[in-house]
Symmetry: C2
DNA sequence: TTGAAAGCGCTAACAG
DNA sequence: CTGTTAGCGCTTTCAA
């Protein structure tokens, strides 16, 4: 069995049976014109010889590769892996494959990923913006060419592109209220870059949460970081060194929450006695740390599924108004935030 | 720009320039026969019109899709995601894409994944066996058909298939010696299923480690689990309930180590004072738990890179003797194992 | 130096 | 009911 003959083709079947290629093709597709006899024979042989249609040939013919490109900021955090699982789940049902690329939180790599994926003729893209992304020409090009596109979590152009997000305002508000109910008064928030929708919305929820509880907003308690461990550690340190330090902190995501936790402990402060802590993380990580971290858990798998569903409805109905799915998060209360 | 004309083809370029398709093709490939003039003109227009060759057409012609199938037991742990990153890194250099499938630790899904990936005409497979996999017909078929195959971490058929593993014997021995040097006497080991090479080898390292330190092997301290959190919790509980309980435990992987940690803490025992703990995990998880977990860290990214390299040398030289790359692990000592 | 034609695997319009 | 033909985008003889 040498190279080049690993897969059998319609031709092989046709030769074997002494009929034409088109007859075989029709029989395999249950075309009504073909006699039941022939159909049966063809399908039997195809099964025996383990025939499977060549997707390259199909793709070339139909101009459809049944591939979706997926771009995520990174591949190694649970958040994205789990979303990818969700996407894959729906894609598989539809007989689609996904091609995964990571932007590594870099705009340059994101642009490159878009280009590369388009070169491979994926039918469209499902994307979470990189942290650096503030310009959108690379997506506008797709939009103008009517190439199916869906954003999730970190999104843009929502008037033109379907998207899946969680209710970040609500989530941040839940956290603030929770702190408040538990008697915390000086609630700090470590935010991300301003241009990211998730950061803006969580800030908004933080502010409205404070107001709802009748707490005054103090600008020194709202700090920004670039969501790296290093930067998060630095801003946490700054918070803890305030003349009157916060008695509660919430971090915008996993990385930030864990960095904060380490820094608080490193300084010999106790959680939650000295400083309470809440993050946005997943089930697994939250329970493995000590103290177990109260956190907002994202419905990651569902986010992926929903994004894929939006993608397919886009393929089927390209001209429909783009919709935005907003999923609810859950606040899971653990030790890190209750005295 | 309606559907079906998103990409421009050689034909488009040829028409625009009033030359034949073959001339365009040659010019683009810098064929020496073509006049420098024409070559220049063609390449200029191609660049302007943003031409990129259709990989489907190429694949059909060359019977090579430039795609590699990757099958991992799961997508959501750092270990595999990071290995995938490594594979992707090398694949990208070579202009290859990877198609990822997860077996979810199930043999049935693994077989299905092999089938599906082969149907998409990937050029070969890079695989880590599922936990359930004890039979290998689905891989033998590939081997017999000379389809490039590489295994990593959990491997089989190593006389026929190149593979990448870590030195598990050495790693387990390191752990045992480390415990011993720190004065621990009753060292327990939570192993995985017998048919997995990683489990066998680590058991071997555990045993030789004990011997080297002059410690006697006690059968009640060597327990097996199926590497699920549930099962790991159960066997940890059993260990802790022994009439004379172990003063040190090492767990075969992340899941087991964390489950053990939780169970130890749940019973009010202190780590490392009452029971020391060591695991096989990655940097991130090990430092985030409390106490920080001494652990063997895998060179995950490199494992992926190495696997991809083996894959390509397989493609280039299909008949070479398959080799096995053995990578070294590192024991990173943290609080969980030193008194 | 260039063009025409065949063929990779498949479907579909057109003829019988 | 079945075969012939053209064509998806590309490379590569073969001819000119």
């Amino acid at each position: 069995m040498e190279k080049g003959k690993r897969h059998i083709s319609l031709k092989d079947l046709a030769q074997e049976l002494g009929v034409s290629i088109s007859t075989v093709s029709r029989a395999l597709n249950n075309h009504p014109d073909i006699s039941p006899n022939v159909t049966r024979k063809v399908q039997k042989l195809a099964a025996e010889m383990n025939y499977s249609p060549n997707p390259l040939a199909m793709g070339l013919l139909k101009q459809a590769t049944r591939m979706i490109g997926v771009i995520v900021p990174d591949l190694v955090t649970h958040f994205y892996s789990s979303i990818i699982s969700g996407i894959e789940h729906i894609a598989e049902e539809k007989g689609y494959y996904i091609l995964i690329a990571s932007s590594n939180e870099s705009l340059k790599k994101e642009i490159k990923a878009v280009e590369n994926l388009m070169k491979t003729r994926v039918e469209g893209l499902i994307v979470c913006l990189s942290q650096e992304t503030k310009t959108y020409e690379h997506f506008d090009r797709l939009i103008n060419n009517h190439i199916p596109l869906v954003f999730f979590d970190r999104v843009c152009r929502i008037d033109k592109v379907p998207s899946v997000v969680v209710d970040n305002v609500d989530a941040a508000q839940k956290i603030t209220s929770h702190f408040c109910k538990n008697g915390f008064q000086r609630i700090a928030y470590i935010a991300g870059p301003d241009h990211l929708n998730i950061s803006q919305q969580r800030t908004q929820g933080y502010l409205s949460g404070l107001k709802k509880c009748g707490l005054e907003f103090r600008s020194e308690l709202l700090v920004k970081c670039n969501m790296s461990t290093l930067d998060a550690t630095k801003v946490t340190a700054a918070l803890l060194e305030l003349s009157i330090r916060p008695d509660a902190i919430f971090g915008i995501n996993d990385t930030v929450a864990f960095a904060a936790m380490k820094e608080i402990k490193r300084r010999g402060l106790r959680i939650p006695e000295d400083v309470a802590l809440v993050g946005f993380t997943d089930e697994f990580h939250s329970t493995v740390v000590d103290p177990a971290l109260t956190s907002i858990t994202h419905p990651t798998f569902e986010i992926g599924q929903e994004a894929a569903r939006l993608f397919f409805s886009r393929i089927e109905n390209p001209d429909a108004e783009p919709i935005q799915k907003v999923l609810k998060t859950k606040l899971v209360i653990r030790k890190s935030s209750v005295r």
